[in-house]
Symmetry: C2
Amino acid sequence: MNHPTPHAALARQPLPAAVREALQARFGERFSTSAGVCEHHGRDESPFPPAAPDGVVFAHSTEEVAEVARLCNAHRVPLIPYGAGSSLEGHLLAVAGGISLDLSQMNRVLSVQAEDLNVTVQPGVTRKQLNQEIKDSGLFFPIDPGADASLGGMCATRASGTNAVRYGTMRENVLALTVVMADGRIVKTGTHARKSSAGYDLTRLMIGSEGTLGIITEVTVRLYPQPEAISAAICAFPSMGSAVRAVIDTIQLGVPVARVEFVDALAIRAINRHDNLSMPEMPHLFFEFHGTEAGVREQAETVQQIAAEHGGQGFEWATRPEDRSRLWNARHTAYFAMLQLKPGCRAVTTDVCVPISRLAECVSETERDLAASTLPCPIVGHVGDGNFHVAILTDPARPEELAEAETINRRIVERALALGGTCTGEHGVGLHKMDFLVSEHGEDALDLMRAIKNALDPNHILNPGKIFRATR
Amino acid sequence: MNHPTPHAALARQPLPAAVREALQARFGERFSTSAGVCEHHGRDESPFPPAAPDGVVFAHSTEEVAEVARLCNAHRVPLIPYGAGSSLEGHLLAVAGGISLDLSQMNRVLSVQAEDLNVTVQPGVTRKQLNQEIKDSGLFFPIDPGADASLGGMCATRASGTNAVRYGTMRENVLALTVVMADGRIVKTGTHARKSSAGYDLTRLMIGSEGTLGIITEVTVRLYPQPEAISAAICAFPSMGSAVRAVIDTIQLGVPVARVEFVDALAIRAINRHDNLSMPEMPHLFFEFHGTEAGVREQAETVQQIAAEHGGQGFEWATRPEDRSRLWNARHTAYFAMLQLKPGCRAVTTDVCVPISRLAECVSETERDLAASTLPCPIVGHVGDGNFHVAILTDPARPEELAEAETINRRIVERALALGGTCTGEHGVGLHKMDFLVSEHGEDALDLMRAIKNALDPNHILNPGKIFRATR
C-alpha cells in the first residue's frame, strides 16, 4: 500500500529485553508478542498501513495499567492504549513500536448511579454494551459514533455521533475520569457533581487527548431518562442544498430535535443494497424526536412544515420501535454499507464541521469537487452540528487513488477552515490531520499543546507520533 | 480586619521603576498608580482584606494586553486581570502586588452571528449588557451569576447561575477564546464550529483557570433562541428537605426545567424587606419553564404535581413579563438583600455542589450546623444542579465571627466532598479554597495542575497566589 505514511520518520527501537521479561513475568499469557496478536493491534479502520507493536498487554485493572506505564516510562518504550480498534485516523498504530495496552477486558459497568443520572464504567465497555446493561434503569447513554466504540476510546477522541445535536458530545457528558499518567501516577479528575469551579479542568484536557497525555481507566458519564415518547421520520429532498437548508432552519428555530442526519443519494444506494431497503436514491434527512407525546408531535409538525418549504417529499414515519431500530441501524451501518460500493476498498473519511450558517455553502462546493472525481464519494452527516463525512472510496493497490483522496480531503478541510470550522468534528487528529491542526489553531496554540504534552509526558512514551509530529 | 490572610506568606516586591516608566510612557492616563484607583482594584466581594496593586492599566485591545504581559513577564511583575470586580473569593486581590489589568473598557460586542446562535465579545462586556445589546436578535445568553459579571470574569471562574440546569455553565457555552499568554503571545482557542476533535481542549483549560494561565481578551459564546413561551412560579414548602426532594424528583423525571432555585425562610425575609414583597417566610422554590406554549404548560403541570406531593403550597404564577422580572430580580439581588440582614456585615459564602441524590442529606445536615450558630446564615441555591450557597454573615470587626464562619464553611465543604461533590460549584478557588482543592482532587491531580501552570506561566506572573499556594 502506497498511502503516504506520515510516520515514516519516527525511529523505531527494538523492545528492550528487560521490558519483555518483566511483562512476561508479570502478565504471563496476558502479554503477547505473537505476530497475529501484534498485527491485529497494529491496524484500525483508517486507510493507513498497519504498524504492529512489539507486544500487547491485556490489562485488567488501573493498577496493572500503572505498572505497565512505570515500566515503559523507565525504559522509554512507547505505550499505546487500545480499546475497540475502531479509530478512523490511525490512532492505534504503533508507529514507533512499543507496547499496545489492550483495555478491552476492562469492560465492567462499575456502578449505575440511577438517581444521579450517572454511570461509572471501565474503559473497555462499549456504547452498545452500556445501553444493554442499563436498559432496565429507564436511562440511556446517547453518544453513538458509527462503530460500537469503547467508552475509553470515545473519551480519547472526543467522540460524538447522531444524538450530539441534542445531548452534546463526550466533551459535555463526561463528569469524571481515572487516568494513569505516563509515570504511572493514578489521577482522579472531576467529581460526581454536575458542575464545579475547582481548579483546572483536567477532565476536559484528557477528553480528546488521543492517548497522548494519559491512559483513561475509568469513566463516569451522564445518562438521560428514556424519553416518554420517541418518533422518527425520513424525508427525501431534491438536492443536498435543500436538505441542508431545512436543517439550518430547524436549528435556528430552536426545535430540540434529537437527531437529524443527512444521507446523500449514493449513500442511500449503498444502504438500500446492504440493508435490503428501497428508499428512493435521493438525498435524505433522517430525524428523531424525543419528548412527551405532545412535545414530540409538536416538534415533528414544525419540522415537517420546514421540510416541505424546502421541497422535502414523503415525510415517512417510523413510530414502532422495530421500525426505528431498522432506520437507525441502517444509518449506523452506513459506513460498512458504503465500503461495499467498491469491494476491497478502504475509505478516506473526511470529518469537517462548520458553523451551521456556512453548512449549505460548504456542502454544495464540496459536491462540485466530488462530481469532478472518478472515485465514489458517498456523504453522510450529523448536519445539525454542521458536521459531515465524505467517504472517499479508494483501492489500496492504486496509489493514484489514495493521492486523489488526499487532495479531495485537503480541499474540503481548507474550505471548512476558511468558513470558520474545524478539520475534525469527531474523529480526531491521529496520524492524519497534524498539518491541518496547525492551519486551524496556529503555531502558538500548537506550542501550547506541546508544552502541555512535555509537562505531562516528558519522555513522550504515550502514543507517540499522534496529534503532533514527534519533536523532542 | 482579622480574617485569616492566606496570602500573608507571599513576598511583595516594589514595582520596578522601568516597568512604571514604560507603562506611563505607553498608556499615559490609562496607567494609574493613584491610591484611590489601586485600592479600588485591590478589593472584591470576598471577605478578604484588600490588597492593592502597585498600578492599574486600563487596556483597550488584545495587543495592549500582550504588551503589558511582555513587560511584566520580562520584569517578573505580577499581573492580575480585572473585570467587573464581583469575585466572591479574592480572585482580584493583588496579594503579591504588581499590575491590575482592568479590562472593563474592552466592552464591545464585536459580532453577533445570529444565524449560528453565537456572539463574540470583548471580555469587559457584562452579561446584562450583552442581553441588552442582542435583544432584537431573538436570542439570549442564559448564564447569569448573581452579579452583573463580565464575560471574561465568568470564563475565568467557570461561572454559572440560575439557568445552568437547562443551559449549562460557561464550560458548555464557550466556543472560542482569544488569550494572551504570560509571555505576550496571542493564542486563539477553538473555532466557531459546534464541536471539534482537533487537539487538546485549550478553551476548556482556560475556562476556570482564574487568570492564572492566560488573560482572556475575546470570548465567543453560544446564544439560544428566546423561548416561544416562558412561565414562572413560586411555591412555599414546609421544610428545606421537602423542597429539595421536589427538585430531585423533577430532575430525575427529566423535566427540562429552565430554572429551579431554592430560597430558605431567612433569605425570603431578607428579600421581602429589600424588595418590599410579602412572601410567607418559609422555604421556597422559584421555577421557570421555557418552551412552546403547550410544552411550558405540560412542564408546569408535572412540576406542580411533584411539588404538591412534597407538601408544596400555593403554586403562584408569574406569567406577565413584568411579574417574572420582579421575581428574578428579587432572586438576583438576594445576595445584597441578605447582607442587609446584618448592617455592616461581610458574607462568607459557601458554594458546594453535590450529586443531586445527596442534596437533601447535605442540606439537612447543614441546616443542623447552622441552627447551632449564632450567625445569621440565609441559604439560596441552584438546587437543580445540586449547588447551594450559605451566606454566613459576619461582623468584620469580630475575629471570632470570621473564625466561626470558616468553621461552618469547612464542615459544609468536608460534608460535600464526602458525598462525592465539589468545594465550589461556580465561584472558584481564589484565595479561599486551596486546601479543599487538595482534599477534593488529591496531591497527584494538584501536581498535574501545577505542571500545567509551570509550563504555561514559568515565571508565575499571572494572578499569583490564587488556586494553589505559591510554590516556585
